[in-house]
């Protein structure tokens, strides 16, 4: 039996629940989980003050309710599965190294910052700075996968070093800013200044976008890795047309302010 938490009292100010992860609650019964200390604004409270807890911790954790004011859920988790039936707040899965997080609703900003492994799947939208570096760090996510079926906002994959970020909808500005390596796929429209300051890595967009003047056009081609990648995404219910799998892509290289070794691929009918 898995552990189930449903919110009975919505918090007035954000809850910081970095201790609520499937791996940390293994072996705990409902009483023990209710007693876990979490931060409510500047006060320390317990999980039981806000959630009704049922079941026993066996590596699978379900949370229910409007969690848009609950931050740091799944931070640092290394294994297990976290299911959130509703919206969720910021810093979801920050620094996680393994396991799986699935969100039915929307997520706040800072999804999976500096994660090194594992998988985050969001059925709705996410806000800014998905899979990015914290301010002051040069390196963002170093591994793992983030799948967002809806839209994302600015600075997706900031400083990304490795891994995969997929946005089913549109992305905001500065997608892949300062990225070092890794792959970002945007199936909808991509905002401006994509790949600004990127060193290496691949940004893929299905729609034409305004390129920075520091990017240069190379050729049209159909990379084999992309076919495999898009087929895998199709099987995960991302909306991908066959012509996107077989069609050609424009390759742009940049950012020339950083040695021109990154690439942006743009689907051409």
């Amino acid at each position: 039996m898995s552990l189930e938490l449903s919110m009975h009292t919505p918090p007035e100010v954000p809850l910081e629940a970095e201790l609520l992860t499937p791996d940390r609650t293994v072996g705990m019964d409902s009483n023990a989980v209710s007693g876990i200390a979490i931060q409510h604004g500047n006060r320390q409270v317990t999980v039981g003050d806000f959630f009704t807890v049922k079941g026993k911790g066996e590596g699978e954790l379900h949370l229910e309710g409007d969690l848009s004011r609950v931050k740091h859920l799944g931070s640092g988790m290394s294994s297990g599965s976290l299911y959130i039936h509703g919206d969720v707040g910021e810093h979801l899965g920050a620094g996680m190294s393994g396991g799986k997080i699935v969100i039915d609703g929307n997520a706040g900003s800072w999804v999976g910052p500096e994660m090194s492994g594992g998988r985050i799947i969001i059925k709705g939208d996410a806000k800014h700075l998905v899979g990015s570096a914290y301010r002051g760090s040069a390196v963002g996510i170093t591994g793992g996968e983030i799948y967002i079926h809806g839209n994302v906002k600015n600075e997706t994959g900031h400083g990304m070093r490795n891994g995969l970020i997929v946005a089913g909808g549109n992305s905001g500005d500065f997608t892949g800013v300062n990225m070092l390596a890794g792959t970002i796929i945007v199936l909808g429209e991509m905002g401006i200044r994509s790949g600004a300051g990127m060193k290496r890595g691949t940004i893929i967009s299905m729609h034409p976008t305004e390129m920075l003047p520091t990017f240069s056009y190379n050729c049209d081609f159909n990379p084999i890795f992309l076919r495999l990648m898009l087929r895998a995404l199709q099987s995960q219910n991302f909306n991908i047309e066959d012509k996107q799998i077989t069609g050609k892509y424009q390759r742009w290289s940049g950012d020339s302010v950083e040695m021109n070794r990154g690439e942006i691929l743009i689907f051409r009918e």
Partner: protein, 551 residues
């Protein structure tokens, strides 16, 4: 309120007490002689066998002023990796290399420090510097005001104004900015940088004002001496960090012609050009010169390995250092008519030849300078290392085998080219008490600090003697500030407001007339607003203002 500290082993060099078992009595914040028999003792601390010293004094630590705030703003990662939770009495904070003001105060107190002095306050930034210092709890504060690169002074010098007028200006600046001394940073060099000069040696000429660093130093040192400012001119010399600057430093010592002078972070000014890499230690020559010239005092500015941030008014040298910024970001600022500043984060690496040799040079200086009354323990926080590394540094000085163990882990070529392994000296507790308490208090003219004699302020630190000196000095058992127990077992237990130490040298008020015209024409604020009032400092949060007497 009468407190008795019973049975401690007292190290009080100012009164010549070297490890004597002695009781200490404190009445209403002051140390007193043994009270008459039958007096009611309100509180007795049994500290039998523990080491008792006066509260430590840091003579050179960047804890206020614009540059520290720039470092704080620039380094969110420094905050993120070192966050401090609030407790029932202390407030939250963060920062390793450039901690927040509150955290700075707590951490100093928890290490047994009760006074810290900001060495580079620009006159135009004095209000900001005092605000930050006022926000630093518990410890006493004070600042040295920066002159020698400001347009007004350089114009006076270029115009061959007489020394009395320059002294008046120096005294006026001390009063207007509520300072405790005068500091000069790269004399004339910060100004020269603005006129596109990228180096300025002792006898090179600032192209705009046609004056040399030698003239600036002499004029300022004379003014400081004539005004009776207790602390000698605090000098950050020319050519900081340049291989071969050893020569400049020796010339600087000669140039001052016997006037008192304090050479700060001298480790950065003690480099030779010998060896395959054209970088060698000049510690022996510098120490010899310091030993010979009794008018010179120094602080070391020891580097210790790890991430830190360098913050300095020396734009010329900081600009040159920005190529080595780690992480890669830096700030250089022009500060109107006064000077400038540069902030460059830096990581000292034990496997780097240069960094390892810098580390060894600092330690060589500590061990080769004979008189602990004229050498102070500093890391030039945060430039060489954060002040929280002091206990580690003390262990390096007091424990030869530990020092040699550390030496064996650093860059081999650097270790080989240093004489550190051959230096047997180990500092005693008495010498540590001199260099961290008695000597800085004497140098700054703080007559009631840094000692435990009758009448002194009851700033007292009690340690448990331990073989591992790092452990001993990191967590004192008790720290008293003005007779109140502020830290126990290395944790703050009471928050007090420290005092601000200032000076009021005499000068001819007539100088304000020409200054007024100058301010109206060139400065961003009016003269009357420029002057910092006493009640402002109190309103900012400082406990009170202590006016130290001039000689």
């Amino acid at each position: 309120m009468l407190i008795k500290l019973s049975g401690g082993i007292v190290y009080d060099p100012a009164n010549g007490i070297n490890g004597k078992r002695q009781d200490i009595y404190v009445r209403d914040g002051r140390i007193i002689d043994k009270p008459v028999a039958g007096s009611k003792i309100d509180k007795t601390y049994n500290i039998a066998g523990k080491v008792v010293m006066a509260g430590a004094i840091d003579i050179h630590t960047h804890i206020g002023g614009g540059k520290v705030n720039i470092a704080r703003i620039m380094l969110p990662e420094d905050h993120r990796h070192d966050s401090v939770r609030k407790t029932s009495i202390t407030r939250s904070g963060c920062g390793h290399a450039a901690p927040s003001t509150l955290t700075t105060g707590y951490r100093y107190t928890e290490m047994g420090y009760t006074a810290c002095f900001e060495p580079a306050m620009l006159p135009i930034n004095a209000r900001q510097a005092h605000m930050e210092m006022a926000d630093t709890p518990i410890v006493d504060k004070g600042a040295y005001v920066l002159l020698g690169n400001d347009d007004y002074f350089l114009r006076m010098l270029a115009g061959r104004k007489d020394q009395a007028a320059i002294s008046d200006y120096v005294a006026w600046t001390i009063q207007a900015s509520q300072a405790l001394g005068i500091k000069v940073v790269n004399p004339g060099g910060i100004s020269a940088f603005k006129f596109n000069q990228r180096k300025l040696d002792l006898d090179e000429t600032n192209v705009y004002y046609n004056v040399t660093p030698r003239e600036i130093l002499k004029s300022l040192a004379k003014a400081v001496h004539d005004l009776g400012v207790p602390h000698p001119l605090h000098v950050h010399g020319c050519n900081l960090g340049v291989p071969g600057n050893l020569r400049t430093t020796l010339d600087t010592i000669k140039s001052i012609e016997g006037l008192p002078m304090h050479l700060t972070h001298i480790q950065f000014h003690s480099y030779g050009t010998e060896g395959d890499r054209n970088f060698s230690s000049g510690a022996a020559q510098i120490a010899e010169a310091v030993n010979k010239n009794k008018n010179i005092s120094i602080d070391v500015g020891q580097i210790l390995f790890g991430q830190t941030v360098t913050a300095s008014g020396d734009t010329m040298r900081q600009y040159d250092g920005h190529w080595h910024a780690h992480p890669k970001k830096w700030v250089m600022m022009d500060i109107e008519c006064d000077a400038g500043c540069g902030v460059v984060p830096f990581q000292y690496q034990d496997k780097s030849f240069v960094n390892a040799l810098q580390w060894a040079i600092g330690l060589e200086l500590f061990l080769l300078v004979d008189d602990p009354w004229r050498i102070f323990l500093t890391t030039d926080h945060p430039n060489g290392a954060p002040f929280t590394t002091y206990p580690h540094l003390i262990r390096l000085l007091m424990d030869r085998s530990f020092r040699n163990d550390m030496l064996s882990t650093v860059n081999k070529a650097a270790a080989k080219s240093s004489i550190l392994a051959s230096l047997d000296r180990e500092y005693s507790l008495y010498e540590i008490a001199i260099m961290t308490r008695a000597a800085p208090a004497r140098s700054l003219g703080l007559r009631d600090r840094g000692h435990l004699g009758s009448g002194a302020a009851a700033d007292i630190t009690v340690y448990t003697e331990h073989k591992n000196k790092e452990r001993m000095f990191a967590k004192p058992d008790y720290v008293f500030k003005d007779g109140e127990l502020v830290a126990k077992s290395g944790k703050v237990v009471k928050i007090t407001k420290g005092s601000t130490h200032t000076l009021r040298p005499e000068y001819d008020k007539g100088i304000e007339k020409s200054l007024n015209t100058y301010f109206d024409r060139y400065m961003s604020i009016k003269l009357e607003n420029f002057k910092l009032q006493d009640d402002e400092i109190i309103e900012l949060g400082s406990g009170d203002i202590i006016i130290q007497p001039c000689n």
